[in-house]
Symmetry: C2
Subunit: 240 residues, 2 copies
Amino acid sequence: MGLERNAKGCNCGKCSHKFCASKVPIFSTLSQEELAEINSLKINKKYKKGEILFFEGDRMESLFIINQGKVKVFKYTKEGKEQILYILSEGDIFGELSLFQSEKLTFNVEALEDVNACVLTKNNFEMILSKRPEISMKVLQVMGERLIKMETLIQSLGTKDIEARIATFLLELIPEYTRSRGNIKEIELPLSREEIANYIGVTRETISRKLGKMQEEGILRVKGIKKIIILDEEALKAYL
Amino acid sequence: MGLERNAKGCNCGKCSHKFCASKVPIFSTLSQEELAEINSLKINKKYKKGEILFFEGDRMESLFIINQGKVKVFKYTKEGKEQILYILSEGDIFGELSLFQSEKLTFNVEALEDVNACVLTKNNFEMILSKRPEISMKVLQVMGERLIKMETLIQSLGTKDIEARIATFLLELIPEYTRSRGNIKEIELPLSREEIANYIGVTRETISRKLGKMQEEGILRVKGIKKIIILDEEALKAYL
DNA sequence: CGGTAAATTGAGGGAAGTCAACCTAAGTGG
DNA sequence: CCACTTAGGTTGACTTCCCTCAATTTACCG
């Protein structure tokens, strides 16, 4: 699967990470030569599922580009429960903030699956940025999108109706995590029940019960532990 | 009051809005001449308390700088309740996002008190930006701070403990909204009870009850409708 | 094919929401 | 300056819904 990917995106046979830079929207305006330069500067890191990439309070000295896999970004609440802020996957970046304000990280990052990431040092990134200042605009766009996602999450958490929160969560997943088979949509869940609960601000048990209820209502079908088939997307939207 | 302000910050007697640009961190690197240029480009707008500056879905074609007063930025939840995202006051900017991604506004903005704002058109701002590209870095910093605030809010909303949410809210207010009298701190609340409730994700009544409880415990004193005296800041922090 | 971690299901309690009545304070006009 | 009006705040009784705790059941991995 991983090999297929490479074969598909790159023909040179050896540079399995040529993608790092080319995958990322912030570098979309760069030429092939410039991308190649970035690739020669980057280093590659691998993490196992469950591994912590960063802890709150760590000082970031580099820009991370996720080449493969997914990570969750989260904080701990007072009760020691994790509050997930967002999920990042292939092509997403993080650490960009610290590059501009050299502050400590305000969240933890953990690999949800095996992760392959490219790392650009702060210095190298600043060098690239000085050559191509329009990149900072791109970074602004990415941050803007992230802000909008967080606004949606806040709106969701502020909503008392838990069905609505779950619906929001599922609908968000559809564009990126769905394999369409005919006209039914099968979501590949990136999170466990407990993690969904921690994202939505409820307990694991409540998620179980609500999904069960939605299944009874014919809106979706829970297929094993990490798949959900959306049978009636309109009914889901009606919850919002 | 408004005049005193002006007298204090500006001696020319006529340019009551010279501050707009000089108040804003994103323009902090500019020279006096450049600031003056911006001031000649900007236009001035006034809003009455309760007035809506923008609706969700509006297209922003300008950068707003708050010169005086406070606004709340909010969305509506499914139940029609407002979910406040943040409070902006003197020196804060908004609309910066739309300038970079020309998307529609994702929130509403309402004046909490009489507001005086400076407006820079998108074109003018882009012109300034092209002359001084380092401003985009500053914008990134501002957005970074906003992102961090939202992360905190999410963490707070995800926390079940409502006392903790109230404590977080009050402690956030202290730096900006406190008049210290001796060693007791008196917070001037920018929000009504209902708005606090809408910010924290609970009902008006719950806020009343919890503040009453905290008063009984000797942590604070509710003084009328818009003042709270913090008697025991440490006890407040202990809720976190 | 076990063994373990995760998910589900059920029963019970508690905390916040709802609804309604009452109170307080800010603003208005005489 | 005071009485009146009204919006916002507080308080109480009741209800609901989610959390908690515990017992099973189901999925996943060697």
